[in-house]
Symmetry: C2
Subunit: 179 residues, 2 copies
């Protein structure tokens, strides 16, 4: 699939067919995530692949009962590794860089999912402490996305976007004149 | 360009030809950013396009004198909009969601840059307060990336990555058995 077709066609998919995701595709998604850039190439991110029905159920409860987490054959929980980032960059690493490292990986993974004919959604609404408990995460891992993945039951329509013009500034905040 | 070719071929480019970036390409990059997902479709991100030589110089100084900011014909500074996110999601929006919204946009933009035959680098090392001062940012905008963009003077080699296996856990932290 063409890059821009992937960027334009990606949707947040929240309903899935009852059909497993082949391991080969899961690996391509994870590898796409690992190819994302990171601050100082620290790669301060870790991935928890969830397939066990009991764990999916508990993850769903930790995410305010978003039921499509149970419906999806797998979820990938992407975590920011605060320890890896802070050991090199101190507080700025712990509070910012590892979140950026993990987020960049998530976006690559969402594009890869779409490019492979699958669907996914970036879930950010969950209770951190409950997710950490369910997945037995150590203190230094901060979950920044739950990504349920599967074959889409339907392709949602595009959500509207603000035009770039509404968010663009030239040389300083409020600066006009580029367009 | 194929999606996976873009993900695999993207590099952090830090030297540029003395050749302007056509406005049409800049707009495609910005639009790719705006097509990234965001929490609740809030799109809590703003873009400052920097082209003015004096502003580039000051931005370079705010970023610990990374000289390629001056060399690049343009930079896009991507900001997390804490106000837009917090007005809907409170403290979680202010501290997390707007950073994710902005980061996802950055990664889409970096891929678009590469797909268009340009080069860029995600700079995260800068003094926030100085960047805010140079760009006259209001308090609620947090810069999360300076992205110098131009035609690459050279394509850097790939940086090594940890294998996915080293970062992958199955059903719980430390869980084995998927691979």
């Amino acid at each position: 699939m063409d890059l821009f077709e992937a960027i334009e066609g990606r949707r947040s998919v929240r309903s899935f067919l009852d059909k497993p995701v082949p391991k080969e595709l899961v690996m391509r998604i994870l590898e796409a995530g690992q190819l994302a850039p990171s601050a100082g190439n620290c790669q301060a991110r870790q991935f928890i692949l969830v397939e066990n029905p009991n764990v999916k159920r508990k993850l769903c409860e930790a995410a305010w009962n978003q039921e499509f987490i149970v419906q999806a054959p797998i979820s990938i929980v992407v975590c920011a590794d605060e320890l890896r980032s802070s050991s090199r960059y101190g507080e700025r690493g712990r509070r910012l860089y590892c979140i950026l490292d993990a987020s960049a990986a998530v976006e690559n993974m969402l594009l890869a999912v779409h490019g492979l004919g699958l669907g996914a959604c970036w879930i950010g609404a969950y209770q951190d402490e409950k997710v950490k408990e369910v997945l037995e995460l150590p203190d230094h891992l901060k979950p920044i996305a739950i990504i349920p993945i599967g074959y889409p039951a339907k392709q949602p329509p595009a959500r509207p976007r603000l035009p770039v013009e509404a968010l663009l500034h030239y040389n300083r905040y409020g600066g006009k004149g580029y367009l």
